[in-house]
Structure formats: structure tokens, C-alpha cells
Symmetry: C3
Subunit: 415 residues, 3 copies
């Protein structure tokens, strides 16, 4: 799509409404999303415990790019393009492994874990190895969450996000967690529908019985006129609970109050620590902690759920006993990968301290439900009869902010 046609489409957007069809279906805009959004912003891709030991390697795709994340012998984590400098072969397959050096299996070109080319046979006397190291990719760990940026000059304001977020995240001590479970789910919709779905809980009551056992939908907005008297009482009780618990948590060294920069930053984000319902310990079916080994310095089992969102592609639930973390990667105009990881304390013992089925049940079900919603949304927005519809001013404000951020970033990068 020519840039001026895209600029016109952006300019013509009706505020407070879903995006025009092309944004969800056009292969050209999908490629633009990869080029201007996913190749120029900080993308959440995993956690430090993905590569816990020296020599640990994790590789994954973003669009046509493949990235290697590797922990060097000095325990530094680095990122490189997964492309041999000889004939371009991939050095490691998708997924995880453990290596001494990075050796291309094609002609055995061998790279150190810091990317330097160590060996390349038969290349002759004039060949300069120093020009043929692996191409680096920017990597930033924010309290154990790994963000990469494929651009030459990544947005600088990730430092600002790191400054704000570290006090919120540090008590959960991601670096000393382990990955108890991980799933990849292909959703049959554009990645923006996956994100929009995540940015509201208007759909929760009708679709997420497991999640709403612990999660108060009130926390994401409501229209007072849409509630009956009983619901209104509950909402008031909930508002009081937020005030009281956020005060208590902050006094205990757990930052809780909302920080929201979803649409006014290049590296947009939002966080808030919110109460949970019933036993209020964790996003489990019985709302009790899933792991008996609490994270970091957290003592209080009722430390709420810290919600952390980043633009364009992640959300996270940090609880006292475990963390669930989500990364969204576009696969095609109508296909999206949702990668979910459940983290517990690294010393928690499976079968003793936690049970994987109990740990994962709520979000496995919720992801499946959301994937269906994304699927019927994609099928519908594809129709010639589709036209942008109105967001609720009460329950879909964060969806609107996602759209505003997205269109704003497209415009800025087109300029």
C-alpha cells in the first residue's frame, strides 16, 4: 500500500470506533505493521529464565526475521540475527538448546556466544573474520522481562518504562523464577484483534467463567446505568477494596497505583495492582495460590494481581505465587501467535509445591475462549458489510488507546 494511501486511511479514522477493514485484512498493511511497528519498537519476547544457564539459546521468528537470544559465559544475555554470514543459513532451529559455540551446520562456520566469527575454513588468506560476526539485535531486560528491538536505533524511552516499572516488578523477582509451563496458540485473526481483545473486560462476563472467578470485571470500567442495584453495591464495595488494599500494599513495599502511558509514549505501557475476588490469592479456579513457594520478597498471599501491559504486543499478570506472561507475534494478516508462559519460584518443586494443571487451568481456558472471539471477529470484519463500530466509552477506553497508539506510531514512522 502506497504510504500516502495509508496516511489517508489513518487520517480518515473515526475516533472511538474500530479500525477500517483494511487494517485487519490487507496483506500490505500487515507488512507495514511488521516493518514500522514490530521492526521499530520494543517487542516483548520472553523472560530471563528462558535462558537460565551460560550457553542457553532461545530462537524465535518475528516476521521474516529470526532472532537468537543467548546467555554468554559471563551470564550476559545477548540477541543476534539467526543468519550465518556465509550463505545465510539459520544457525539454530526455533526453540531452545544449549551450546558451547554457535556452529552453522551447513559449512561449520563457528561463532562465539558474543557473536564473533571464530572459524571459517577454506576462505583463503584474504578473508577478514572480524567483518563477519553475527549481526546484533538490541536487547533490554526490564526486571527480568526481555524486550528486543530490530531497529538500528531503538526508542530511547524504554529506559523511562524501566525506571517506572522496576519497583512494581522487582518484588516478584523474575530472574529467580523458572518456566513451569509454556504454550503456543495460533489465533485466526489479525494481531490487532488479539490485542484489542486483551484491552477490555466487557466480554469477560459472557465468555470467561474461569477467569472471572478471581478477576473483578469492574476493574476495567462499567456504565453505572448498565448495573442493577445489587451490581452497583458490589462495584462500590470493590472501589473501597481497591483504595484500601492499594494503600496497604504500597505501605508493604508493593507499588500498586495505576500508571498509564498507553498512548502518549513510543514505548507505551500501563500497570496497576488490583484486588482479586474470593480468597483473592491467585488466578486459579479456587482463587488460592497455585504455588506454595512465594515469589521474591512477597509474604502476603493476598498481594493482588499486578497487571502490566506494553504496546504493541504484551500483557502480564504478576501474582504473589506465580506469573503469567503473554507475547503476541503476528504470523499473517489473519493469523497470530499467542505465546503464554507460567512462571513459579525456581525452587518450587512440581507435584510438591505446585501442580501444573491447577496452575494453568484458568488461562488455558481463557486463551482458548479469546482465540474463538478473535476468530469470529476476524471472520466478520472481513465482510464487505463490515463498517467500524463504536467502542463503549465506559468499558473500551483502553482499546481506543491501543488504536490511538497504533495509528499514531504508524503516522510517526511513515513521516
Amino acid at each position: 500500500m502506497p504510504h500516502d494511501a495509508l496516511a489517508q486511511l489513518i487520517a480518515g479514522r473515526k475516533p472511538g470506533h474500530t479500525l477500517d477493514q483494511d487494517f485487519y485484512t490487507s496483506p500490505e498493511i500487515f507488512q507495514t505493521d511488521l516493518d514500522l511497528i514490530f521492526a521499530r519498537h520494543w517487542i516483548y519476547v520472553g523472560v530471563e529464565p528462558d535462558v537460565p544457564e551460560a550457553g542457553d539459546v532461545m530462537s524465535f521468528d518475528i516476521g521474516a526475521a529470526s532472532v537468537i537470544i543467548v546467555r554468554d559465559d559471563d551470564m550476559q544475555i545477548r540477541a543476534f540475527h539467526n543468519v550465518c554470514r556465509h550463505r545465510g543459513a539459520r544457525l539454530t532451529p526455533d526453540g531452545k538448546s544449549s551450546v558451547g559455540n554457535l556452529v552453522c551446520r551447513y559449512h561449520a562456520w563457528t561463532y562465539a556466544l558474543d557473536g564473533r566469527l571464530l572459524f571459517a575454513d577454506h576462505m583463503g588468506e584474504d578473508f577478514d573474520k572480524s567483518c563477519r560476526g553475527l549481526k546484533p539485535v538490541h536487547l533490554r531486560s526490564v526486571a527480568g522481562l526481555l524486550f528486543i528491538c530490530l531497529a538500528d536505533e531503538p526508542p530511547a524511552d524504554i529506559e523511562e518504562m524501566a525506571r517506572v516499572m522496576t519497583p512494581y516488578l522487582a518484588p516478584h523477582d523474575v530472574a529467580n523464577c523458572k518456566i513451569a509451563h509454556s504454550t503456543d496458540l495460533i489465533e485466526h485473526g489479525n494481531w490487532k484483534l488479539t490485542m484489542e481483545n486483551n484491552r477490555e473486560c466487557y466480554h469477560c462476563a459472557a465468555n470467561h467463567p474461569e477467569l472471572t472467578t478471581s478477576l473483578f470485571a469492574y476493574g476495567f470500567g462499567f456504565s453505572p446505568t448498565a448495573l442493577d442495584d445489587l451490581d452497583l453495591q458490589q462495584a462500590e464495595r470493590y472501589a473501597d477494596m481497591v483504595t484500601e488494599l492499594q494503600q496497604r500494599w504500597e505501605a508493604d513495599g508493593l507499588p500498586a497505583r495505576e500508571v498509564e502511558h498507553l498512548s502518549d509514549r513510543v514505548t507505551g505501557f500501563r500497570t496497576e495492582r488490583l484486588p482479586m475476588d474470593q480468597h483473592g490469592e491467585s488466578q486459579t479456579l479456587d482463587t488460592k495460590a497455585a504455588s506454595q513457594r512465594m515469589l521474591g520478597q512477597i509474604k502476603d498471599r493476598r498481594s493482588g494481581g499486578l497487571s502490566f501491559w506494553t504496546q504493541p504486543n504484551s500483557w502480564h499478570h504478576f501474582m504473589g505465587d506465580h506469573i503469567v506472561t503473554f507475547s503476541v507475534i503476528p504470523v499473517g494478516p489473519e493469523e497470530t501467535l499467542l505465546r503464554t508462559k507460567w512462571l513459579v519460584h525456581k525452587d518450587a518443586v512440581e507435584g510438591v509445591d505446585y501442580d501444573v494443571e491447577n496452575l494453568t487451568r484458568v488461562w488455558l481456558a481463557t486463551n482458548r475462549q479469546d482465540a474463538e472471539l478473535v476468530g469470529i471477529s476476524q471472520a466478520g470484519v472481513r465482510s464487505p458489510a463490515y463498517e467500524p463500530g463504536p467502542y463503549s466509552p465506559f468499558t473500551e477506553g483502553f482499546v481506543e488507546k491501543f488504536c490511538t497508539w497504533y495509528l499514531g506510531r504508524l503516522s510517526a514512522e511513515l513521516a
Copy 2:
């Protein structure tokens, strides 16, 4: 494809020959077919017995559009776009169901069966529900056969077709039939090859042993010089039989004589009631009626087979005991859905009055054979060595009329 390039391609067509390669393979012309043919003409999609009761819903795709057909409590059948006016989700999945209202499962927006938006929570005081009803789709029942048109202003001459066809179809009383069996077959060819295949019986002798047990291939034309003496005698006997039986049927109130408007109408069609061979009762392997319960007011088991074709996408065989009805829906440039339904009297009892295997055997086999022919045609016309070949002036006149109609409609809609 730019419109003037397409206009040139249309103008350059050699009359009496198959179409140029691009018409069978080009993704651009496929999209044009969806836009100018399937979105602007009356498309046959099903029968009244698809939604026999109030609250019955049937949903299907045409191109990127999804259409809901629903029978309201007043027994009216209506059609809507299957797109929620909120965030565009599909309201119902492909296929059939029974509902009170049409409720979007995403955020529970609720529509009446006449399309009005009844409920939409959290949208605030200013929200005007009356502007957010489901978008209607034109629907016309012709003696129980359902045609829809996605255009704002559908071709008016469907009324003319209805006027002519109702006396032919009414005696079979579609509205009081039930669907005994239904199949979806994906053919690996462009939809026009599926239609061209249907419009001639030149290929029947070599390919359709089951069908030609009851169907006289003579009824669709032949070259006298291609027949030997025995065949010529048969052909003469057949011509006499047509004359005699058509007179008898018309005297009995069953219109029989050919009406042919395949290429001179926007809503092109053709019909004729023709004798069948042997017992002559039905398109079954033993040529006897498949259902003991005759349709409508028909008494005579030897009432022939009424052939009814509509441009661009249907054909139908109406017999005294059952009806077989075919709807063709383009899926991709080289992929086509053929939906076939077998109808019997609604009071016929399976296993007593009819046996599904016996009822469906001939056309299940014939469809499979035709799908193979369409597949080898598509594979061949894709070749750079393909060039349009000549139609037989004796046996492929109706194929030529299909092409003439198609190109004429494209030209008219391009203008």
C-alpha cells in the same frame, strides 16, 4: 485487473470458444467475479425448508460476505449480513441453528429476528440503538427456492422469472418438502468450469453411467452425423416421446415446454420438463421413484424431470417424488463449493417411504465424476499451452450461452 484491460479481454473473445485462460485462473478476475457477478445478481442459496420453523437460522459465505437467513416469528424469511454492528464479530457460525434472538457472543449485543438491535450494555445514554440494526440483504423466494442479492438495487427481472417459473415449480410444492440429505463438495476448479460442465451432456456418455440410466443425453443436443443408424432411431423415438409427453403433462397441469432466457436476461434462466428413460419415474439407479410419497398435487409417477437452470449459479432437477437442487459458490480462483440438497415430501418417512442411499446414489456419483472433470479442466487451462478451443455447435450451445451471459454481464457492470 484494471477495468480497461478486462474490457479488452472481453472484447477479444472468440465466439463459440472456451474463455481465455485468465478467466479461469486470475485472482483479479476471480475478485471481479465476486464483485460484479456474485454481489450484483440474484444468487440461489437454498430452499424454504432450510429454515422450516420460526427462529430457524442458516448462515453461509459468499466471497468475504457471510449471510444469515432467518425465519421470524411471523414466518417471514429474511436475510441479513452476519456482522455485529459493534466490533464486527460473526453472530452465528456457518450452518444451521435455532434461536430466540440473534445474540453476539462477544459482548452480548442482541438483535431481534427482524434485525433490530434490542440490547447493547455499557454504551451510554447517547447511544442510538435504532441506527445499529443488522444490515439487510435482499431475499426472494421463487416458489420455495431462495435467491439473495447483495447489491443495494437488485436486478428487477427476477419478478419476470418468478412469473414464468411459478407454474412450472408450484406443482412440486417446495415449501412442503423437507431436506432428506445435503452435501458440500469442493471442486478444484474455477466456478465457471463447474457451470460450463453442467450446461452440456456431451460428456455424459463417457462419464456418467449412473445418471444416463434415466437421463437421455439426446435432450441436450447431438450432431446427426455423429450417430449410427441405431442411435438415430433412438433419437427419433426420443423426439416423439418428448412431443407426446409434453402435451400430456401440460394437459395435466404440469407446464413442460422449454423456456430459455439464458443469455438475454440479467436474471438468466432456462427450464424444460423432459422424459426419462426406462421406468422413467426418477433419477435413481432403477429409474423408479425414490420416495413413495409424491410431491404436491402430482399424481403421475411418470411426470418426467423438470430441469431448471439459473445464471450464474444453480441448476435443479424436479421430479414427481423428489427434488435435487444445486448451488455453486466460488471459494477461490481454482476452488468452488457445490452444495447439493435432496428434497422429499415433508411427511415422507425415512426408511419407510424412502431410503437415503437409494435417493442420493445417482447424484453423489455424478457430482464426484463432474468434480474430477472440473479438476482436469482446471489443471489443463492453467497451462501456457492452453488456448480457447471450439464448442460443438450441436452439444455445447448452452455452454456458449453461459459464456455469453457472463461476459455480457461483466461488460454491463463495468460500464
Copy 3:
């Protein structure tokens, strides 16, 4: 891709380096490869023993074209487009069969094995059958290897290749072989990566344990500085062996010396007869002959391995007891068919003179290994971080010649 953009891309190529990304990934260049390389050059497609008897037919695809190879009653082998001149249907499915005439199953149009249209019913008195024969395809057997050319005027210099190669190939007597085994392997990479992989043995040591049991990697170049003392001694021993054995073979009537026209001919090729390691008889796991029945006039079991390569799409290993022959056919920008055939003497008896598992084990394994290498190469060159890398001047000279030939032919055909 506009021709001038492609010409610019060709002009900008860095000599001695892998090609630009677009050559491996662009759908437009893939189509250009089909149009300018595969439709205008001599393409290796099979062997005379593919159609040993009169009436034998073999059909296969090259791009959108389908070609029939047929042996007529006079034992002539001919090639035609597999497209009926009536409505374009394919006459025979992919693969092999035996026929009297070529009869289209659609409407029974019937062609003689020399392509003449014999029968076409119902076409009327004016129809001229003589204009409706099957369209011929150029075919040339070079000592039993079948090459076709889809162009109207095929490159004339195949005669030169035939003149040079016949003395090399004739002793193996392909015409009196039979096909003992045949496999189709889909590689997930552009066809040029398949060819480049074949044109060097730099990757053999690390990837082909079965093949390198008999094959000396030295035969395809090495950097003296890359070898240790022991390896250098081996290389010298090997060079002496080549000199001595090539003299002996040529004295025995088996031409052996290298002829190399990979990049200076339209019909580029290379050949050389080289020693094999250990028992030195054949490319088997134990390096002994796989078939007890020697080919043609060959007596000496240690007659080496004759390597024969043709641009753009074949390589062959001729040994004293059997032949392995490879044909590469592009399927998509990132998908390639590798068709491999193992030939033994037509009188060799399976289970007595040869065992299929023993005969095929080395190349089945080698093909699988190469397919993996092609797959990781394709995945890597797709990355935005990929840039052309340097070929080894010692081990990848023939890869460079493949690239030079390819780009030269593109340029010439564009002009």
C-alpha cells in the same frame, strides 16, 4: 517485477557472493525463472527407460505446463503439451501409464501417439481435425537422458553437448537400463538453493557421512591452508590417483578428463570421471558394486564415478554397475521438487543381482540431509538481516559458475 528493476538487480550483484534475497524469495522472480529459464532452456526430465515400450506414457509438470512424453509404435519418443485442444482438459494424470491412443476422458477426443487428432464427435462438417493436433514439445535424448525445451526455438548448442557427452555416457548404455527405484522429495527452498547445494562439497564432511564413504571431497576443491599435514598427504595421494586412473580409464575406452562449460554455454554442463574411496566400485555404504550385472560394455568394477551436471536443473552419477540421476523442478518460490532415479541393467534381477535398500541407501540419506540444508538456507535468506555472503574461492567455484550462468541467461533472455 518490471524487467528494468530485475536488470538492475542483476547488474548490482557482488561477484563471488550469494545472490540477493529477492532471487530466493520473490514470487515475481520465481515466475521469471519459470518463463526465462525453465521455459527457454533444455530441461532434464527423465530417461529413455521411463517409457520402455510402445504406448508408454509419462506426464509431469514444469510450472503451470504439463508435458506428456510418449513412445510411439515406431519406438520414437515424443513430447506434447498435456492439454486437450477442445476444452483444455489434461489428457493423462501425473505419472506413468500405457495407452493405445491418447483419449481425453472429458468428451473422448482421441489423439494418436504422434499427436494427430483422430476422433472428435459432434463437431460438425466444417470442423478441421488437422488443426487440432496436440501441441508438440521439443525433445532430445542425449545417450538416453531426456531433455525437453518448451520454447519454440530451443538453444541449438545441445548438439554440442551431445557430441561431447555421448562418448562419456554411451559406455553405460542408459537405453538398456531399467529404473530400479524412484523418489520425489519436496525441498523447502528456492530451486537455486537446491542447485547451489549440489555444486559444492564444502558441506559434505559435516553433513554426508554415507556419501563421503565413497566420495572424495577433495575432488571438488580445497584450501591448502585449511588442511593439516595428514590431510595434505591424503590430498596428494588423491591427486596422483586421479592422474593414474583417468589415464587407465581413457585407455580402456572410458573418457574421464574434465570438460567444463558451466557458465560459457547456453546449455551449460560439466563432466569428469573421478576415483572413489575404499573398494572404489560404487556409491554404496560398503563402496562395492550394488548390482552384479555391470552396465553396457563396462568390465572394470573400479571404473570410478562419472559426474555429469547440466544447467539449470540436473546432476548425475554414472558408475559401472548403476546410475543415479537427479532432476530439479521448481514448485514455488520456496518449494522445489527433487526427482531421483536409480538405474540398473535391464536384465539385473531384484533380490538376486541387486538389493534396492543397498542400492538406494546412500543417496536417500544424502538427499534428506541436503533437503534439510536447503530448508535452513531458505529460512535464513528470508531474513531482513540476510546479506549476500562470500563464496570460498577454493570450494565454491562451481556455485559461483551456477550463479554466473543463471544471471547471464536471465540478462540475455531479458534483452
